[in-house]
């Protein structure tokens, strides 16, 4: 966010600050060969799945060596090497892709599972509703994770959503669903582990509804001044990182050990940021790469 404010990024970001526990909890129970699809708010999912930090940071800065070679940016972070099949600029866009990945993996004889992260705004899109039916119909090894931050871009999701919500919608198609405190990383991991185990046993798709809160605005250009400050203050008191820290201390972990982990993470990010700022811009000729094979020679004159 500081880099955006400083004008170091070519574009904007969709921050997921405040939603860390969902990504961390779910991805902690996944195998390296499991796949995920993500949302436009996908930094946390990518990091939690093990995406290359320097490559990601260079991508945010649009520099050479970016994980998408500077063509995706924040909104389209992907790292196929770790099974991160892409953030997605379209709400619910990752859901059918996740189902297809699961169907394809099964056809190839793999026992990997696929997780699709999506927001509460996505439950009003067709691909989610079609996808529930599809996932259940083919008993796909998929965990659908609704990251419910209560707001669809700038609108309270409850004000535009009929009926009792995502869990009931899933259950109506025969997809077992559970809700969890999405700001509690351990609780998320516990439920995700249980659901993933069922999916691996061949019990078909499951849905995890994780209640959380987006501490910042829709994008890095949105100060979110339109929100009730009281609501934001209450949410900050439930910040998932602070909560995790308190719990770990209460369970006997030394503060100095936690500080060391935080310091190490900060140093890793600062180092990646310096690396990205120092990295060259991509060669403009690369703009012509990776469109398609057939007819590539016509591209520059078309």
């Amino acid at each position: 966010m500081a880099a955006h404010a400083a004008g170091d990024l070519p574009g904007f970001l969709h921050p997921s600050i405040g939603q860390e526990a969902v990504a961390a909890g779910v991805c902690s129970v996944l195998r390296p060969d499991d796949r995920i699809t993500s949302t436009h708010r996908g930094h946390g999912h990518a990091l939690a799945k093990g995406a290359d930090v320097r490559g990601m940071m260079r991508e945010l800065f649009g520099r050479a060596g970016g994980v998408c070679r500077g063509k995706g940016g924040s909104t389209h972070i992907a790292d196929f090497k770790v099974g991160m099949l892409g953030a997605n600029g379209v709400v619910a866009g990752g859901i059918p892709i996740a189902l297809g990945a699961a169907q394809g993996l099964r056809l190839l004889g793999s026992d990997a599972i696929v997780v699709s992260f999506f927001g509460d705004g996505a439950i009003n899109r067709g691909p989610f509703l079609e996808g529930l039916n599809w996932a259940a119909l083919y008993r796909l090894p998929v965990l659908l994770v609704c990251e419910d931050n209560m707001v669809a871009a700038f609108t309270a999701t409850s004000s535009v959503t009929a009926g009792p919500g995502v869990v009931a919608r899933a259950q109506s198609c025969g997809v077992a669903a559970e809700s969890v405190d999405g700001n509690d990383a351990e609780a998320v991991a516990e439920v995700a582990a249980r659901l993933a185990a069922r999916i691996r046993r061949g019990e078909g798709p499951h849905l995890l509804h994780a209640r959380t809160y987006r501490l910042l605005g829709h994008t890095s250009t949105d100060a979110a001044a339109w929100r009730d400050p009281k609501e934001v203050d209450e949410a900050k008191a439930r910040d998932p990182l602070a909560c995790a820290r308190l719990r770990l201390i209460a369970s006997g972990v030394a503060e100095v050990a936690l500080d060391a982990i935080v310091d190490e993470a900060r140093a890793e990010m600062e180092s990646a940021r310096s690396d990205a700022l120092a990295a060259p811009w991509p060669d403009p000729a690369e703009a012509w790469d990776d469109v398609q094979d057939a007819g590539a020679e016509l591209m520059e004159t078309a």
Partner: protein, 332 residues
């Protein structure tokens, strides 16, 4: 004497739809990662293009789906991203419009947007065009929309051999291929080899050579153009007919070569003329050969009307337009 003892013919005359069925069977036998998903495919598809596949390949590779076009398209993409080669059946192309995010924003973008981390090797089969008075939502030709879209190959075959060869190429290609099949020509017959070889994208078929006029066409309208060339021949006009077979890439060199020789260019397509791909072809030829290279230029296409149920208005319009090539030959 005995059929079983007769050597299998190298080339057999079959319908276009049967040619595509054979191409899919051949590729599914060759590569276990090739599979089909779409509505009614386990029943053989609504045109019979998948008849017998369920018996040979089973329900995991011939997947009849709900009527969920967006998810059919998106699932095909996801399955391609993990290394399978799906054939996505869209029933008719008008219905694929329900899956435009998945086709335009996802399939066509994913390789570029992710810096080449994945190639979506998939085929989208989409019967298109006029067919048996099917009215406004079952008859459209949208090839120009997708030739306009970076990231896709657009195939528009008109003969059984071309449909089979291009479909084999489409299955083997690492690019996503939009395979637009001419509904009106599904029953048209032609020779197809017992071993179907891949046909390269971007190479036009010279259906007829000629020196007076270059007639460029593709898909359903090709046989009509060939008949028109016969009529013109009876009147002493020697038309060269080029069937482009793919619109992206398209065989610019063949069209330029022919147009430079004949100096008369006629582009005919079933799609609406306004904003059609014919405009692109004419523009390119003029850009490449210069504004004075041609003596006459004409585009023939459908009027900018939805397709009505009753056949007459369109037929009358076509009759009116079919006189236009003759007008081109007038001195002046």
């Amino acid at each position: 004497m005995e059929a079983a003892q007769a050597p299998s013919p190298a080339v057999e005359t079959v319908s276009l739809v049967e040619a595509t069925r054979r191409a899919v069977i051949q590729e599914m036998r060759r590569d276990r990662t090739v599979w089909v998903l779409g509505e009614d495919v386990a029943r053989g598809g609504i045109f019979g293009q998948y008849c017998g596949l369920i018996e040979e390949f089973g329900p995991d590779r011939v997947v009849s789906t709900p009527i969920s076009e967006a998810t059919i398209m998106g699932v095909g993409l996801g399955a391609a991203l993990v290394g399978t080669r799906p054939i996505i059946e869209m029933r008719i192309f008008d219905f694929a419009l329900c899956a435009m995010d998945e086709l335009v924003n996802q399939i066509a973008k994913i390789r570029y947007m992710f810096g080449g981390q994945a190639k979506p090797a998939l085929v989208i089969r989409a019967p298109h065009g006029l067919w048996r008075s099917s009215a406004a939502q079952h008859s459209q030709s949208f090839e120009a929309w997708f030739a306009h879209l970076p990231g896709l190959v657009v195939a528009v075959p008109a003969t059984p051999a071309d449909a089979a060869g291009l479909l084999v190429s489409a299955v083997r290609a690492d690019d996503p291929v939009l395979f637009l099949e001419p509904k009106a020509l599904f029953g048209a017959t032609g020779g197809v080899a017992s071993e179907i070889l891949p046909l390269p994208f971007g190479v036009a078929r010279q259906a007829r050579s000629g020196k007076d006029l270059t007639l460029v066409c593709w898909s359903s309208i090709v046989p009509e153009c060939e008949r028109a060339a016969d009529v013109l021949a009876g009147q002493g006009i020697d038309a060269e007919v080029l069937d482009l077979r793919t619109l992206w890439p398209w065989d610019e060199a063949a069209v330029l070569d022919s147009a430079a020789r004949t100096r008369r260019l006629l582009v005919v397509h079933e799609a609406v003329r306004a904003g059609g791909f014919g405009g692109e072809i004419v523009s390119r030829v003029v850009e490449r050969l210069g504004p004075r290279a041609l003596r006459a230029v004409l585009r023939v296409g459908a009027p900018r009307l939805p397709v009505p149920f009753i056949p007459n208005p369109i037929d009358q319009n076509r009759c009116a337009q079919s006189r236009s090539p003759m007008d081109m030959m007038r001195p002046g």
